[in-house]
Amino acid sequence: MNEGMKDPGGYIDAARRGEEAAYRALYERYRPGVVRLLEAFAALDFDEREDIVQDTFTRAFKSLGSLSTPASFEAWLYAIARNRAKTALSKRSTEDRTMAEFSTEALDAVPPFPDSLALEVDIAVVRDLIERLPEGPEKETVRLFYVDGQLSAREIAEKLGVGKSAITMRLERVRARVKRELTLRVLAGKV
């Protein structure tokens, strides 16, 4: 069983009861991950990112009741953060106002987490998948962003001397690979 499947401190349950210390513990524990996730969006500046972090936790804490199992809190939180980031970017990039409102509405809903899935996929699977990537810019970017975990997409763009959107796209491609692998493994486990 991996780390995300547990609620060791009972924080989720305590937060559901409205205990401030539990909210605080959850914030402290998961904020770095949320920030890192948002740092992959090179189009977001510092202020926008901080706003989304706040927004993500506010929404998550206010809707803890809709979370089916404490075990899926982390993934659920990341899904909210990703949604908020996409919403912020679509609001900014869409010229047509009504269109922007429409798409925002669609993106705001956090997709239902597939409860039925036995998500026992280990981090080792992802590590292995990245190791098997051919050497090249994509692998280098993933190493810098996820494995070293220090630089933002913007900073990596600067370091490698490429456009910042290129970095976001490389990270998205790797996410797609992980998602494909995950899908196959989960489905294979069910077949």
């Binding site: 995300g4 409205g18 401030e20 909210y23 605080r24 914030y27 402290e28 904020r31 770095p32 991950g33 920030v35 890192r36 996730l37 500046d45 510092f46 202020d47 901080e50 706040q54 936790f57 506010t58 804490f61 206010k62 899926s72 982390e74 993934a75 939180l77 990341y78 899904a79 909210i80 990703r82 949604n83 997709p111 239902p112 987490f113 597939p114 039925s116 899935l117 998500l119 996929v121 981090i123 699977v125 992802v126 590590r127 990245i130 996820y146 494995v147 070293d148 975990g149 996410r175 797609a176 992980v178 998602k179 494909r180 995950l182 899908t183 196959l184 489905l187 294979a188 069910k190 077949v191």
Partner: protein, 242 residues
């Protein structure tokens, strides 16, 4: 035949019936891969796995927590840092008063000189209980609850941002102002700009970042942390007595 909404749903509800589709995806198909990539259901789980690779050693974000607490729970007892507009009467503070303080803390910003950034001298004065201003002691020690006013010698005419940094925490933005080229006290529309140290304790640095064209808070933070920013940077360090 590629993945679409209907087959996707069927895959999850009854994967056995979709074995051939699963085999097709396994063999590698750009169309189906693009479809899977577009599905949001596994987004959170994918990010959780990827975040598992990342070392997480972010400093405690006390300010962010306080903001969040105010939004989720009740309002906090006191605002984390009160930045205040001093009474209009004090705004006419004779510039001579602050000029007299010049140099008192200037020497305490050695790291800035010669490191590539445009150094901007900043001096602070402390408001006493009677409302007048006095020079900061050489040690930079100030009583808790002190209110500071600032004078900068700016190389530029343009927007400025003021940040407060507790110890080595991430600096927090307090205000956006404008500065004029030359020596001027920091002011905002309602009068003299002041920083209240009511809730502070220990080492506190007030940063002033200015430029001749607009810049965002992220750029200001870069100017604070990097040595190659084109922005003008100045700071005052104080030690707030407990």
């Amino acid at each position: 035949m590629h993945l679409d909404e209907a087959t996707w749903q069927r895959l999850w509800s009854d994967p056995a019936s979709a074995r051939s589709m699963l085999d097709h995806v396994k063999e590698g198909c750009d169309v189906c891969d693009a479809f899977i990539a577009s599905r949001p259901e596994l987004d959170g789980e994918v990010d959780r796995l990827l975040m598992g690779l990342t070392p997480k050693s972010a400093p405690l974000d006390e300010l962010g927590w306080r903001r969040l607490r105010a939004r989720v729970l009740k309002a906090p007892k006191s605002s984390p840092v009160a930045w205040i507009a001093l009474a209009a009467g004090l705004a006419v503070l004779a510039s001579g008063t602050l000029l007299a303080v010049r140099g008192a803390r200037q020497q305490t910003a050695p790291g800035l000189k010669g490191d590539g950034r445009e150094y901007m001298p900043v001096v602070a004065a402390r408001q006493t209980e009677s409302g007048s201003f006095e020079q900061l002691p050489e040690t930079g020690r100030v009583p808790r609850g002190s209110t500071l006013a600032f004078r900068v010698t700016s190389p530029v005419d343009g927007p400025a941002r003021v940040f407060l940094q507790r110890g080595k925490e991430l600096p927090e933005e307090l205000a956006q102002l404008r500065v004029k080229s030359g020596s001027n006290q920091l002011e905002q529309e309602s009068g003299l700009f002041g920083v209240n140290l009511e809730d502070e304790q220990g080492p506190v640095t007030v940063w002033v970042i200015a430029h001749d064209v607009p810049f965002d808070a992220g750029q200001a933070l870069e100017a604070i942390t990097s040595t190659s920013s084109p922005l003008s940077v100045g700071r005052v360090e104080v030690l707030v007595d407990p």
